[in-house]
């Protein structure tokens, strides 16, 4: 019978497709992807989608509650909240995305270094991470962004180093787990270069938990960015970043609560969809559940 | 013990299915067998044939869902245990029937010291104080060759073979009438396998326990069993005494099992593996489940259930090859 030979061939060429198929067979992944794609597209094409400019003030319609003209109402300067949210999403989403990428690149690099080389390099890196994590993450983020100062780029930096110790430790732990596996000995025995082994053989085997972590980190970085802006350390008003909009709206909470509600809904929806996606991704990548 | 010849355990028409991803896996199909007091029955077959499911359904510890016992009657010592309430069954588990699990590495709770894990069962099934249970558990440890002073140690402080001894001590602590040993030696080194088997056999003799031994290792069967049943795709396809099966294997599958063993005598140079793979349990072949792999398969084998034919006294085989003798 030809049964034995066939499945192997299929498997080898389509790991990614197989993964995506498994991922999108769940409703979590479908809903998560749908929401995040809609929000991202709406923000990217805000020039087209948004009914008003982010700074168009309509003094005849200040503080107006949601209506046909302004579907989410207007703020204290008569600016359309929906339009501001779409333009602001550009800041919020890119803050989350860029800081996650930068943060993960650094932490993965440190983690791989520590995990693979061991010895003094490892001790040095891990002790540095210990010192680094002596303060709770949020607190450290507040302090670092104080030191860097406000503004988009500085906020990206402050956010990106927030998860360093966690990411580096996780990478290292994964590497240590894989390092004892025999396929590495095999690679060493055919005289592969150390760097080749590290990034070609070792890393692909440890990336899955990191990928899940990174997906969720985008969400938590968006939340932290909003938090920083809210206490006046991140992106500053009148930039329509979601947290900055909340900071502006805070003064009117007693009279015009609609100004508070919508930016938060956008943050929550975005983070929610990323969490759904991350959860589904974890399940899809779990070899125990694969079959 | 004069009722030695009486049937002690009777399994009739046992049928179990699993549901996974809306597919139905027929794990056990109409399995019937019986066991006498003090005897050992070996269930032999490949991984995935349904041996463990048979044992677990006797004890009624199959996870439901996904497993579901569709039919069958299990009678032990005159009591229909398949009809007992959950509460009544709970008192039988670990008391009258106990089980040795396949993997000693995971069968013990890592957070509880081994002694307490043994006395846990003792206190459930006999009316004794904590101290007495501890003493008895210590004795059980000594019986399987572990110093009682190691009572307070945790599973991680034991080697694999030692852990399996603990699991055996745990299973035998309440003097069970029936012991279900699910591949008790598979996870162990060859040298320790023999020790563990001897230990089980000794204790079984001492306590006069009946046993169902599940294994895929015919060597183990030769060492310990009285009767043997070959299990294939959830069915018992051949049943007989150890002598019957070893000297006169009838079903082509059983024959294949023996052929795939290295033999010490004779001049055969190559082992003959059984061609093909186990059938997909969600999509079993019509007729004889073995027909796609069977060198003797005929049209007859591809349709309709194969009845059980008696080859010789007490030696049954589910294969049309033996039809003439039966009719």
């Amino acid at each position: 019978m030809t049964v034995a030979a066939k499945p192997q061939k299929i498997r080898k060429s389509s790991y990614t497709r197989d993964l995506l198929e498994r991922l999108f067979s769940t409703w979590n992944a479908r809903i998560g992807t749908f929401i995040i794609v809609v929000i991202a597209l709406a923000c990217i094409f805000a020039d087209v989608v948004a009914p008003y400019g982010y700074n168009d003030m309509d003094f005849a319609n200040m503080y107006s509650t949601p209506s046909a003209q302004h579907i989410m109402g207007t703020d204290n300067l008569g600016r359309d909240i929906f339009s501001r949210l779409l333009y602001g999403g550009r800041y919020s989403l890119s803050l989350g995305l860029i800081s996650t990428i930068i943060g993960n690149l650094i932490s993965i690099f440190l983690g791989v270094l520590a995990g693979y080389y061991g010895g003094k390099v490892e001790t040095l890196i891990m002790r540095f991470m210990d010192v680094y994590s002596a303060l709770p993450g949020q607190l450290l983020c507040i302090l670092v962004s104080t030191a860097f100062g406000a503004g988009f780029q500085n906020t990206v930096l402050a956010l990106s180093i927030q998860h360093l110790p966690g990411g580096a430790r996780m990478t290292r732990a994964q590497i240590l787990k894989e390092r004892s596996m025999e396929y590495l000995e095999a690679a060493e025995s055919i005289n592969c270069k150390k760097m080749t082994i590290m990034f070609r053989h070792l890393f692909p085997n440890v990336y899955s938990p990191l990928l899940v972590g990174a997906t969720m980190e985008i969400g938590s970085n968006i939340m932290m960015a909003a938090t920083l802006s809210y206490i006046g350390l991140g992106v500053q008003p009148p930039t329509p970043e979601w947290g900055a909009m909340l900071a502006e709206a805070r003064a009117f909470i007693l009279v015009y609560p609609h100004m508070i509600i919508w930016p938060g809904v956008f943050i929550a929806l975005t983070v929610f969809s990323l969490n759904l996606l991350g959860d589904a991704l974890r399940d899809a990548l779990d070899p125990k559940l694969r079959k | 013990m004069s009722e030695k010849n009486q049937t002690f355990l009777e399994v009739k028409d046992l049928t179990v299915i699993y549901t996974a991803n809306k597919k139905i896996v027929q794990a056990v199909n109409h399995v019937s067998f019986s066991l006498k007091k003090g005897e050992t029955l070996g269930l032999v077959g490949e991984t995935g044939a349904g041996k463990t499911t048979i044992a677990r359904s006797i004890l009624r510890i199959l996870p439901d869902p996904p497993a579901k016992m569709l039919g069958g009657e299990i009678t032990m010592d005159g009591v229909k245990i398949s009809a007992l309430s959950e509460e009544e069954m709970r008192k039988i588990r670990g008391g009258k029937i106990s089980m040795i699990f396949q993997d000693p590495m995971t069968a013990l709770n890592p957070l509880i010291c081994v002694g307490d894990q043994i006395s846990e069962g003792l206190m459930l099934h006999s009316d004794i104080s904590r101290d007495e249970a501890r003493k008895k558990a210590g004795e059980m440890l000594e019986m399987v060759g572990i110093p009682a002073s190691r009572y307070v140690e945790y599973p991680f402080e034991f080697s694999g073979g030692m852990k399996q001894r603990v699991v055996i001590a745990m299973a035998l602590a309440c003097n069970p009438d029936l012991l279900l040993a699910d591949e008790p030696t598979t996870a162990l080194d060859v040298t320790i396998q023999a020790q563990v088997l001897d230990l089980i056999a000794d204790l079984q003799k001492k306590l006069h326990t009946s046993m169902i031994l599940i294994t895929h290792d015919l060597g183990v069967v030769a060492q310990t069993c009285d009767n043997v049943a070959t299990v294939y795709a959830g069915e018992i396809i051949e049943y007989g005494t150890k002598k019957d099966l070893f000297l006169n294997p009838c079903h082509p599958y059983t024959v294949g099992l023996f052929d795939s063993l290295p033999s010490m005598v004779g001049d055969e140079e190559r082992l003959k593996p059984i061609a093909g793979l186990m059938p997909d349990p969600t999509d079993l072949p019509q007729g004889c489940k073995f027909n796609p792999r069977c060198p003797y398969a005929t049209e007859k084998c591809r349709s309709g259930e194969v009845p059980n034919f008696e080859v010789s006294d007490g030696h049954f085989c589910r294969c049309w090859k033996y039809a003439k003798e039966a009719i």
Partner: protein, 319 residues
């Protein structure tokens, strides 16, 4: 066990020293001269120099760091506020009760409710208890806690008028801050506990226990929960740290005169002694929370237990 706790306490001192070093360095690297910020834009060059000399900020990094470390860890002196010239500790004493009340209750609630919900969801996999818990916690982990706090103000203070929106007047003032700082951690803890329970439910030793004839209730209490709690406890430390780290934001939303708000004010005014002391306080609280979770873990983990206590028991047994 006492030896283990002692060891953890020693490591806590190291953590605090690391935290002190970290906060000092971050503030040192912060651009802008504190003396000038304190004096305002109208101050002359001379005035700034004199001020910097009084504050000691004109000295080298090592000198300043050394003095700060010795003052903090040897003399237990935290200095005066640069802005208000009063001892920082005096102000801290007024503020600590608010922050500690909110933090402590939040931590206890996070641990209890988080574990409880996780257990309920995990032991009822696929049933409504599970679905409801998972849906609500998924929503909660997706909301920034300050926004949740703002929503609560809108609902309970503005619309319903049940609870005060600002400051601390009576015990009712604590309700919303506590809930706001608890929910996120509870949700995360519940989700992690649930997946830990699901991992353990299928473990072989649970089947073993069932085969022994153990009751389902006891199986859950004795075999499933302790094993599931192990990974969940390691996460708990982080969530408790999150409550500490987030308290500044919660205090800012509810205008609570606590340590967190004091720290934010200190940051804005470049009042470094205030910032340093507040941050050290937060580091202390979070490392105490970490140690408590570590001890909880050690209490369950047989490896640690065996290393620190078993020997004694075994010797007794042999004697």
């Amino acid at each position: 066990m006492a030896r283990y706790i002692l060891k953890r306490l020693l490591s806590m001192i190291l953590i605090l020293i690391a935290a002190a070093f970290l906060i000092f360095t971050i503030l040192y690297l912060t651009p802008g001269e504190p003396a000038r910020m304190l004096l305002g834009g109208t101050a002359t060059e001379d005035e700034v120099r004199t001020m910097a000399h009084t504050l000691g900020t004109d000295r080298s990094y090592m000198e300043q760091l050394g003095e700060f470390m010795i003052n903090t860890f040897v003399r237990f002196k935290f200095g005066n506020s640069w802005l208000y010239k009063v001892p920082v500790m005096q102000e801290m004493n007024n503020r600590l009760p608010h922050t500690i009340t909110i933090g402590l209750i939040s931590m206890i609630l996070t641990a209890l409710i988080g574990f409880g919900l996780g257990i309920i969801a995990g032991t009822h996999e696929g049933k409504w208890q599970d679905s409801v818990t998972m849906a609500i916690t998924m929503l909660l982990v997706s909301m920034p806690n300050f926004w949740l706090a703002l929503l609560m103000i809108i609902l309970f203070s503005v619309n319903l008028g049940w609870l005060p929106a600002y400051g601390i007047d009576s015990w009712t003032s604590y309700i919303m801050p506590i809930v706001a700082s608890t929910l996120g951690g509870v949700a995360m803890q519940a989700r992690q506990m649930r997946s830990a329970v699901l991992d353990v439910v299928r473990a072989d030793y649970v089947t073993t226990a069932r085969a022994k004839g153990q009751t389902e209730r006891k199986i859950t209490m004795r075999h499933i929960l302790p094993n599931a709690a192990m990974p969940a406890i390691t996460m708990l430390g982080g969530h408790l740290g999150g409550i500490v780290g987030g308290s500044a934001i919660i205090e800012s939303v509810f205008s609570i005169p606590g340590v967190g708000l004091y720290m934010l004010a200190g940051i804005n005014a470049r009042d470094y002694p205030v910032v340093r002391t507040c941050v050290l306080f937060f580091a202390l609280v979070s490392s105490i929370a970490m140690i408590l979770t570590d001890i909880g873990y050690a209490y369950l983990d047989p490896r640690i237990k065996a290393r620190y206590t078993n020997r004694k028991r075994k010797e007794e047994k042999e004697a």
